[in-house]
């Protein structure tokens, strides 16, 4: 594609999208906007680098020992007069790893055609068999050796995982291939295959994105393509500029991810994420900490000296009697901040800094909603969005003291049942579970109230 065409298409698509967006973007799922932007940015980065490569810019591709060794492995098979065994994983063509495996097979079969070495490709899925056959056929044709290609070099064994492993192991033990290549998606059979290959003395190269299998391949194989290296294999083996450009694009995105991670870390360490200037946030922080203190003091006064020591020190150790005596004389507020935090973790009455970020954010937003309830009471969008965000369990999310504060502030003059009724009207608490929870929280005496009964009946 020429530059002019490329920019015309890109510009046209961008313009069309802007028109669509300004027209209210009908049918677009707004909850996935972040992912959409990420895909567009990553896609654009990849395309930009591919264009650069096509225009003749040369990119450095880090040498990948595993891919360099593929030719070496085929050469070794040729010298020894033994076949090359290629295993494209046990999954179907709907897995990208299998597709990547078949792509590598295309390159490997070119080498086997060039070196006149026999190739054996047992597969576990019929569609993979057809795809792998086509890839091999094309490679042999391109190398000018169609006479060497025969369909049965790619053959079906079985769909079953361990039956397939048994079949491939049988081939290995009988034919003793000089090179075994495992490229695709693998599960528990990975080690069975790789160890058998190891036992027959074959040179082994594996490539997979199945994370759990990578350690097994690393242990049992001579070379392993880990994750992205496997997907870069096609670019590496073909040396096509457009594919190499794509690999560079990946690296650019990765650099962006690393930069974002470091930036997030700095923001996190500096507490810059905590929106500490927000009034809701600060109020909650103070309330939460004082609530934790109150509950922890109660707990502290109830438990034995040994438990005070163990909980405060996060230990299971039983100390000397002198240390125990010391803890017996300590008030809760006498212990240091770290011991307080340890204690709070044990009791479950955590301090603000011990809460997860999601939880903090949720509590802050809820608090905001409650503080501004009078304004938001008739704001259907707010209730709708909150429902989407927090599900139907707002009431369950509120702690008892928050429910009390709700009653004493936002709902001054409202009866308890009216609060629930209002929430139910907004479809905020609408399941039987929520109703039961509400009943548990507010006491069974409320059950006689007709409004509550009607809500329960309707639900």
């Amino acid at each position: 594609m020429k530059d002019k065409q490329f920019w015309m298409i890109t510009g046209g698509l961008t313009f069309a999208f802007l028109v669509y967006w300004s027209a209210g973007h009908p049918l677009f799922n707004p909850n996935r906007i972040v992912m959409f932007i990420a895909i567009v940015v990553i896609g654009a980065t990849l395309l930009y680098n591919i264009r650069m490569a096509e225009r003749g810019e040369e990119f450095y591709l880090r040498p990948i020992p595993g891919l360099k060794a593929v030719e070496e492995a085929v050469g070794r098979s040729t010298e020894m007069g033994k076949p090359v065994l290629f295993v494209p994983g046990i999954m179907d063509m709907d897995q990208v790893e299998t597709v990547a495996g078949v792509i590598v097979l295309g390159h490997v079969s070119k080498m086997t055609a060039r070196y006149e070495t026999s190739l054996n490709v047992p597969v576990s899925r019929s569609i993979v068999m057809k795809a792998a056959r086509e890839a091999c056929r094309e490679s042999y044709m391109m190398e000018g050796r169609p006479d060497m290609f025969h369909e049965d070099m790619v053959h079906y064994l079985t769909d079953d995982q361990f039956a397939y492993a048994a079949g491939v192991n049988g081939i290995m033990v009988r034919e003793k291939p000089a090179a075994c290549l495992y490229m695709g998606k693998f599960y528990a059979e990975s080690l069975i295959l790789a160890e058998t290959g190891n036992s027959i003395g074959a040179i082994q190269i594996a490539g997979t994105a199945s994370q759990a299998q990578i350690p097994f391949f690393v242990t049992a194989c001579d070379y392993t393509l880990i994750g992205e290296e496997f997907f870069a294999a096609s670019a590496y083996l073909s040396q096509k500029p457009e594919l190499i450009g794509g690999v560079r694009g990946q690296d650019m995105v990765k650099a962006g991810v690393i930069a974002t991670t470091i930036l997030s870390l700095i923001l996190f360490i500096g507490n810059l994420f905590e929106l500490s200037s927000s009034k809701e946030w600060m109020d909650l922080k103070i309330n939460n900490n004082s609530k934790s203190d109150t509950l922890n003091v109660k707990q502290w006064n109830k438990i034995s000296d040994l438990m005070k020591y163990q909980w405060a020190n996060n230990t299971i150790n039983i100390p000397d009697s002198s240390i125990l005596l010391m803890y017996g004389n300590l008030e809760y507020f006498d212990i240091g901040i770290n011991r307080k935090l340890n204690f709070a973790l044990e009791t479950g009455n955590k301090y603000w800094r011990q809460l997860g970020f999601d939880y903090k954010e949720k509590k802050t937003n809820l608090n905001y909603a409650l503080n501004n309830y009078s304004e938001l009471n008739n704001d259907d969008d707010f209730w709708h969005n909150s429902k989407i965000k927090y599900g139907k369990s707002l009431w369950k999310e509120l702690e008892i003291f928050e429910q009390d504060s709700l009653l004493s502030s936002g709902f001054t003059g409202f009866k308890k049942e009216r609060v629930y009724y209002t929430l139910a009207e907004k479809n905020f608490v609408s399941s039987i579970v929520d109703s039961n929870y509400f009943m548990e929280s507010w006491g069974s005496s409320q059950r006689s109230l007709p409004s509550i009964q009607s809500i329960l009946t309707v639900q």
């Binding site: 049918l27 896609g43 019929s126 094309e138 490679s139 242990t219 150790n317």
Partner: protein, 274 residues
């Protein structure tokens, strides 16, 4: 040529684009296509394709027998198994219709197919799976051999994880670990300085410091926490391990995305042999 080149590329690009961008569209028919229809089409295609695989299997096994190739008796067993499974699946139920109708018979007790599954297939699969235990042992032996710094690190981490995760790990005092560390430090200092006096000095001071600290604090089993095996293993498991795993996952995710984009845009054409 258009049927073997342009048309497949067009189909891949079209279906790929619909599947990718359909994820962002709130339209029931597109959502249904992305979530259900596309995968069901694939399943239907794969079901028909199984015939190709089965025919290929039979053809190769028959050829092996006819040509008396090495290991041909195994082919006889393979063909017998194939025919037996077909017979049990399609022709002989082994029970009346009142017990199980055709289709349900594959999971009903007492049928020939279920018998074959329970008493032939399952034990054979389990046999293969159980080989894994031995292979894990031999692979671990190779991985844990101390050859270089990384292998040593792997060995130490492996031992900490293994011991820290079993009950005995929680009764090993952190002071015992500290003594071991002091001794290991002695080995390190000895191979670095190669001086007995310095080595004994370091080990002696280390042992004394640990002993004095232990006496002062009452030898708590799990204190200091950084030398307590369950805590060390948890740290290794949740921090360095997760960091490495996530790095690989990000690479894999990008690799999958880049491969998919190359397919959708028709840049990668290796699957049709280009």
């Amino acid at each position: 040529m258009i049927w073997k080149r342009q048309i497949p590329i067009l189909i891949v690009a079209l279906v790929g684009a619909i599947t990718l961008f359909g994820w962002f569209v709130e339209e029931p028919s597109i959502e249904a296509f992305v979530n259900d229809d596309a995968t069901q089409w694939y399943d239907i295609l794969a079901s028909f394709a199984i015939i190709l695989g089965a025919m290929n299997l039979i053809k190769l096994q028959l050829q092996k027998i006819a040509r008396r190739k090495k290991g041909w008796p195994y082919s006889v067993v393979a063909i017998f198994g194939f025919l037996f499974a077909i017979t049990a699946g399609f022709f002989i139920k082994g029970v009346d219709d009142s017990v199980a109708v055709w289709g349900a018979h594959v999971t009903t007790e007492g049928t020939l197919f279920k018998w074959m599954f329970d008493f032939m297939f399952t034990p054979l699969s389990a046999t293969m799976f159980s080989l894994l235990a031995f292979f894990v042992a031999s692979a671990s032996y190779r991985a844990f051999r101390i050859r270089n710094f990384e292998a040593s690190l792997l060995l130490v981490s492996g031992i900490i994880i293994m011991v820290g995760r079993v009950p005995i790990g929680s009764v090993i005092s952190s002071w015992f670990i500290m003594y071991i560390i002091v001794l290991a430090l002695g080995i390190g200092v000895n191979s670095w300085k190669k001086d007995k006096m310095i080595t004994f000095g370091v080990v002696g001071i280390g042992l004394a410091v640990v002993t004095v600290a232990g006496i002062m604090t009452g030898w708590p089993l799990d204190q200091p926490g950084i030398f307590y095996l369950p805590i060390i293993q948890e740290w290794i498991y949740y921090y360095p391990n997760v960091a490495g795993t996530r790095a690989i996952m990000i690479g894999i995710g990008l690799g999958i995305f880049a491969t998919s984009i190359r397919y959708i845009l028709g840049i990668e054409k290796s699957y049709i042999g280009e």
